[in-house]
Amino acid sequence: MRDGKKTAGGAWGSKLLIRGRVSRAGKIILGVIPILVILGGWSLLTMGEAEARVISPLILPSPWEVVKSFPSLWFDAELSRSIIASAWRVILGFGAAAILAFPLGIAMGAFGKVRALFEPLSVFSSYLPIPALVPLTMSLFGIGELQKVMFLGLAFFIYLLPLFLKSVDGVDNVYLQTAYTLGATQWQSVKHVLLAVSLPGILHAMRLGFGIGWTYIILAEMVAADRGLGQIIIIAQRRGPREHIYLVLLVIVVIAYLTDRLWVRLSKALFPYLEAK
């Protein structure tokens, strides 16, 4: 406790303290180290002329070669159109899943009988291996656009429903009892208490789910996608340039991060009471 404040100063405290605080500057320094180590190691392994390298550039291009390949990704592989195509699939699949999971989650959280009806199915589906849904949806819906959206919708639905249910379960019983003693009908209690109080939790679940969706997009576009981020990766892996794989991964991370910020904005706009001081 005594030197707790002292170690808050820099990254180079002499001791490792359990739950010790690290200053902002310290966090940045410490956080950048592993990234630099990886970039350094990567540069070392890919230094020099193509023939003299430890690892062939066909397998692992150098960081600079990856950056240089951006114009070809943008113009030849039509990155922007691929982003739009992938985003559209994610949005459609997510929208369909959320529209179905939302009322079902509320109804399951509100009424014991609805819960008993669907809970076994929900538990069962939460153990399904998501990648296995790709061949499954292909055999059911072909290899067109429908299959991709159905796959994403199914994956999102399986992910979202238990989280929605958990949000409704998280509403303290005291709110319900208060509403009852204030004369609320069953319907009013669902609408004004269970739904209203669980909404921030439900939005948070959607935020988490949407982030996961950008990882599913690769699976969705593994087969016969005429355009999309996943398709670029598949093409780059088969025909090259390999640089595109690294760039697309980076692009997906950036998109996922930016959309996550959008969800935070949305949450602040919809639920100002969480922020008010």
């Binding site: 709110y175 003693t181 009013q188």
Partner: protein, 303 residues
């Protein structure tokens, strides 16, 4: 515990318990009798309700009693017996019985004003309320509980005491005949608790409701109550009733009133009786917090 003189009055009792028992998990090895053969009736005084302070060791059925009277589906109906409010058997929760909980219960997504309006808003049609009346009444109650200026705040911006003020205002805005309070001030610090007691004394004179207040503070029960009930177990029942309890005077500070020797004497009597409940219950914590083994505790049933 029933009061025979109630029968001679024309007005129906505001609350009547007729031989009410509540057994949880009946017929299983986990069966537990929370309340047994509880009977009493509380008269409906024309201008003011009675204030009943309820104390008792934990697990003695105090909360079961309040929840039964509230009519919550988790627990209502009782295993046997009948609960009547103004002569009618209750069917479930109703706006004639308001409740204030120990847990903070202000809806987090609503402002103070919206919280206080809540009951009136959802009953707008049934009670035939106009928007103007609702707004005026809500603002009036916010003022009466001393929260004017906080109308636009959200619950998480309020202190514990302020949250309980919201709960009280929200509840009383519906003019309930009966007010159930389950340890409403237990989570508050001592000065806030005294403030809340003062508030309750001041507004209770106007609301004319019969109040059942469960508390772990004997001082609070004696200070606020017209009568004090000590519950005991097992099984839960009313062990002792005190009716000659000094009444709080509106205007006098709770701390001053609670320092007076007459007041202290009553608290002492109730406390002594409370301890004798503990002894009849067997292994319970003694006066100094030490656990008294059942074998050493006198087995005599008091009172």
């Amino acid at each position: 515990m029933s009061t025979p003189e109630a029968a001679s009055r024309p007005a129906l009792p505001v609350v009547e318990f007729r031989d009410v028992s509540k057994i949880f998990n009946p017929g299983t090895p986990k069966a537990f009798t929370a309340l047994e053969h509880l009977s009493f009736s509380i008269e409906d005084f024309p201008n003011r309700g009675e204030f009943i302070g309820i104390v008792g060791p934990s697990g003695c059925g105090k909360s079961t009693f309040l929840n039964l009277l509230a009519g919550f589906r988790e627990i209502y109906p009782p295993s046997s017996g009948e609960i009547l409010v103004r002569g009618k058997s209750i069917k479930g929760p109703g706006i004639d019985r308001g409740m204030v909980f120990q847990k903070y219960s202000s809806f987090p997504h609503l402002t103070v004003l919206q919280n206080v309006r809540f009951g009136m808003d959802i009953n707008r049609k049934r009670l035939g309320l106009e928007e103007k009346e609702i707004e005026a009444s809500a603002r009036d109650w916010i003022r009466r509980v001393g929260l004017d200026g906080h109308e636009g705040k959200y619950p998480h911006q309020l202190s514990g005491g302020q949250q309980q003020r919201v709960a009280i205002a929200r509840c009383l805005a519906l003019k309930p005949r009966i007010l159930l309070m389950d340890e409403p001030f237990s989570a508050l610090d001592e000065p806030t608790r005294l403030d809340m007691q003062r508030l309750l004394v001041n507004i209770w004179a106007e609301v004319e409701a019969t109040v059942f207040l469960v508390t772990h503070s004997i001082t609070e029960a004696v200070y606020l109550g017209d009568r004090v009930w000590i519950f005991c177990r097992p099984p839960g029942r009313i062990y002792k009733e005190f009716r000659d309890v000094p009444l709080p005077q509106p205007g006098e500070s709770p701390l001053e009133a609670q320092k007076r020797p007459e007041f202290q004497a009553v608290v002492q009597r109730v406390a002594d009786e409370f301890r004798s409940v503990d002894r009849t219950m067997g292994a319970r914590s003694g006066p100094n917090g030490a656990v008294v083994p059942a074998a050493q505790a006198p087995g005599s049933k008091g009172g």
